[in-house]
């Protein structure tokens, strides 16, 4: 008998990283009153020249009040042929029915397919976890995360691009206002927070999954800039079980936010200091207590420092957060008007939909701006403004 001994050679991963230059916009009604996407679509269209039509997307919070207790999975079935898409759908649904109870599912309504390029089949499922065996020890959220990571790495042509409760992402290849029209966002949805992104990728092969926002559970991120520390951030997150499969550096921000805020329960003010920490010169001048805190944060979470220009809007249930890199290489303007809270790459877009504003400012680099829902029993609505 012959034995074949195979010495495994570890092949290096040749991953490609797309680069993102773009426009971002966010609007939130801090009283929780919901509104359609019409305004934000106009606002992002105003910044049309910042994109190149190769990607656009929206995140919306509060859009599924009837199914608010169920996870809303938005699925994208890509593949060059109708057959490939259907087959991916079947694979996914087989997987889904084993791990989740499906309450309701349907194709996400959209307009005429001729207006956008090569759309995938986009479907939504409202589900509840169905944990078996060892997995019952996991929390619902960890369970969902592990299943989503599994689908995105293992099932070909199927991508879960939104997985939170009572919220959803809508994205694709096209100008954002076109994507908004395609998914009928100004007609059939009302949300209390909308974040929008218009993309200018420098890798010409755009694909629907590569547009922003990137999301995991109810955390969504839209991002303008390039993360030069991507290789470092990526390996650190992979150590914690996050698979970075979507070939875009923005992914690491979404996973970092999930790791730090959901799993490690760190407040946003600390998370901002991890992603965009102050310079050592400033730390050395702080008082003992702060100095120790900042130094320790940088020591422990050094690999999560996001280097390179960025301005991001992170959406979560009940919160909208704006943050720029430590030396403010990308712009971000914040504004308030009554209950409305706006974040934008350019002030003009805010003025377009709200000509009068109570206050307008550009936050300092590395300092987060947070808008929170005013709700019974929670902390009063407060925009943290560090100037």
């Amino acid at each position: 008998m012959e034995f074949k001994i195979i010495m495994p050679r570890k092949r290096r991963e040749l991953y490609n990283k797309e680069i993102c230059a773009c426009s971002i916009f966010g609007a939130m009604n801090r009283d929780g009153d919901r509104f359609s996407a019409e305004g934000v679509m106009k606002a992002i269209a105003n910044m049309h020249v910042r994109g190149n039509g190769l990607g656009g997307g929206f995140a919306a919070y509060g859009i599924y009040p009837d199914y608010r207790d169920y996870y809303a999975f938005h699925l994208m079935y890509t593949g060059c042929s109708w057959v490939a898409k259907r087959s991916a759908k079947q694979d996914f649904e087989a997987f889904l029915s084993e791990s989740f109870d499906i309450v309701f599912d349907e194709e996400i309504p959209h307009g005429d397919e001729a207006t956008v390029s090569d759309p995938p089949l986009v479907w939504r499922y409202f589900v509840a976890p169905n944990k078996k065996g060892d997995e019952s020890r996991l929390s619902d959220q960890d369970y969902v995360v592990s299943k989503v990571m599994w689908v995105n790495t293992k099932i070909e042509n199927a991508y879960v691009f939104s997985s939170g409760k009572n919220m959803g992402c809508f994205k694709g290849v096209g100008y954002p206002e076109e994507i908004g029209e395609y998914f009928l966002l100004d007609r059939i949805y009302k949300a209390y927070t909308w974040t929008v992104h218009g993309r200018f990728p420098t890798n010409t092969q755009a694909w629907w999954g590569g547009a922003h926002p990137f999301s995991l559970l109810d955390t969504t991120v839209v991002h303008n800039g390039e993360i030069s520390s991507y290789g470092t951030n990526r390996w650190y997150l992979e150590m914690y079980g996050y698979a970075c499969t979507l070939q875009t550096d923005t992914e690491v921000i979404a996973y970092a936010a999930d790791l730090l805020m959901r799993k490690q329960h760190l407040p946003i003010s600390i998370v901002a200091k991890i992603l965009a920490p102050p310079i050592w010169n400033s730390i050395d001048k702080m008082n003992e207590k702060e100095k120790k805190l900042m130094t320790t944060l940088r020591m422990v979470y050094g690999p999560l420092l996001m280097n390179g220009p960025f301005s991001i809007i992170i959406g979560q249930t009940g919160k909208m957060i704006g943050l720029t890199d430590r030396i403010r290489l990308r712009p971000l303007t914040a504004a308030t008007r009554g209950a409305m809270f706006y974040l934008s790459s350019e002030e003009a877009s805010i003025r377009l939909i709200s000509p009068e504003l109570d206050s307008v400012w550009t936050p300092n680099g590395g300092e987060p701006v947070v808008g929170e829902l005013n709700s019974k029993g929670m902390v009063m609505n407060e925009v943290i403004r560090l100037s």
Partner: protein, 504 residues
């Protein structure tokens, strides 16, 4: 008996320029030059010349030229001149060929096949002259996450973070023992380390008592197999403690400091009688397996009240990633890895030139192994063995190291020309000798200034290259292989290094 071996160097003296000042005679400790009073000329004996270039540099008339003698054997690719002559020497003496410095053979230098990235258009480069560029690094174990509590609006850190070394630049001075190098050289390294915000390593020779107060805070003290000079004060005055398991120049064997280099001062520091050979055994005789290492690590942690990071230095050999992973799990806070080209004061040439693997491949494989196991946070990696310039440093960090140790580079800054005769104790530059006459030639103030200059210059070059990549903090480059590409490498080498080929 006449030796069959040619002299290594030839000495060409321009008699017209030579003014018979006898300076060369005074400079050379090997006795190469001597004055003939009858002929009123300097006579040179090429058989004694080590090629250290001291007399050439110090001749006031630039009258001397010293070159390697050409080989007059019939050209033979297999029986090179070096192989022929080493064999003859061994036939003549029956001994082991000794040498110093690092591996000089033409193994592939991976640093020269890796190129770096620069930002354009999509990401602005950062100018280190005007914008903040941060090279500060922490070496030691880091927890996986931090528990932060809010207490009356103030943040409290719940998690205990282990002791870490804070360095202002990722360049540390490698382990060179007092005994192998002179007191002045040793003191220069210590002075420069303290001045430049970095650390020096005492090597296995201990730390002289009078230096502990002033330099202890910048010292990484070594606990080697010979356990020289180790007392509780030695351990506690330092910033960190390093267990030396092996070194890149001579993996697997111990060390040997010949008796003639054990002067009274060296003997006092090492706590052995004057004039005896100082032998470091091959293994630590209390470490025969990984769990023994763990025991020693914790013994040292106890001895230092858990206040200092414990480092383990190993040579990079086959399968060392598995060993490295074991060491991290055994409790080490820092792993120092020494590659094929690491230097030494004395080692058998056969071992120096043939044992070990290049450090570039070693860093990659260790870093990847630790990440795959999810334990990369638990220890910092310091890489050593042939770091020659600031580009090597950046590449080492991008491959996964936290910092680098420089040994040969530091000595070259002080004047060394790598003549590889360190084991004779006759270093004309005053670096690797215990002869007080020679040692006095190295001035501590000047030498330590030269070392600080080197660190300053290299740190600035590192900042420029980092800025070019659009990065302004060193922690964003560590293990970020995306910024490297390989040129002229085989597929398997790219795989091991974990980088793409240029253009991919």
């Amino acid at each position: 008996m006449k030796s069959f071996v040619f002299p290594e160097f030839q000495i060409i003296r321009d008699e017209e320029k030579c003014g018979q000042c006898r300076g060369c005679e005074r400079q050379c400790a090997f006795g190469t030059h001597s004055y003939d009073p009858v002929a009123d000329r300097l006579i040179s004996d090429p058989y004694k010349c080590a090629g250290c270039q001291r007399c050439v540099i110090f001749c006031p008339k630039d009258a001397i030229e010293i070159k390697p003698t050409p080989s007059f054997y019939r050209p033979n690719a297999s029986w090179s001149r070096e192989k022929l002559e080493d064999l003859k020497k061994q036939a003549e003496t029956g001994g082991v060929i000794l040498t110093g410095c690092g591996n000089d053979k033409p193994f592939r230098i991976y640093w020269d096949h890796i190129v770096l990235n620069a930002s354009q258009v999509t990401n602005p480069s950062i100018d280190p002259l005007r914008e903040p560029m941060e090279l500060r690094t922490f070496l030691g174990a880091k927890p996986d996450y931090m528990d932060i509590k809010m207490d009356n609006g103030e943040m409290e850190i719940d998690t205990r973070v282990g002791p870490n070394l804070m360095v202002e630049t990722p360049i540390l001075f490698s382990a060179m023992s007092y005994g192998a190098i002179s007191y002045n050289a040793f003191r220069s390294l210590a002075t420069a380390a303290c001045k430049s915000g970095t650390f020096f390593n005492t090597g296995e020779g201990g730390l002289p008592k009078e230096m502990r107060g002033e330099f202890g805070r910048c010292a990484i003290v070594q606990v080697a197999s010979g356990r020289f000079g180790i007392d509780a004060e030695y351990l506690n005055c330092a910033a960190a403690v390093e267990i030396k398991v092996g070194q890149g120049a001579k993996p697997g064997i111990g060390g040997h400091l010949p008796g003639e280099k054990v002067s009274p001062a060296v003997a006092a520091t090492r706590m052995i009688p004057t004039g005896t050979d100082a032998i470091s055994p091959a293994p630590h005789h209390d470490i025969y397996s990984i769990e023994d290492l763990s025991m020693l690590i914790y013994a040292l942690k106890e001895a230092t009240n858990y206040e200092k990071p414990i480092s383990v230095k190993i040579a990079a050999v086959h399968n060392f990633a598995a060993i490295g992973s074991g060491i991290v799990r055994a409790g080490a806070d820092i792993i120092a890895i020494d590659g094929l080209r690491g230097g030494t004061g004395a080692a058998p040439k056969a071992i120096r030139d043939n044992v070990g693997i290049p450090i570039e491949l070693a860093i990659s494989s260790l870093d990847r192994r630790l990440k795959n196991e999810g334990i990369r946070n638990r220890a910092s990696i310091i890489a050593a063995g042939g770091i020659r310039c600031s580009a090597d440093i950046i590449k080492a960090i991008a491959l996964g190291a936290d910092a680098v140790y420089i040994g040969s580079a530091a000595l070259i800054a002080m004047g060394c020309n790598l003549c590889q005769k360190c084991y004779t104790g006759k270093c004309n530059w005053g670096i690797c000798t215990q002869d007080p006459r020679l040692e006095g030639r190295l001035n501590v103030d000047i030498a330590s200034q030269r070392l600080s200059n080197l660190i300053h210059a290299w740190s600035h070059e590192v900042s420029e290259m980092l800025g070019g990549m659009g990065i302004n903090a060193l922690e964003s480059l560590r293990g970020n292989r995306d910024h490297l590409r390989g040129v002229g490498l085989y597929e398997w080498e790219l795989d091991v290094l974990g980088i793409k080929g240029a253009g991919e």
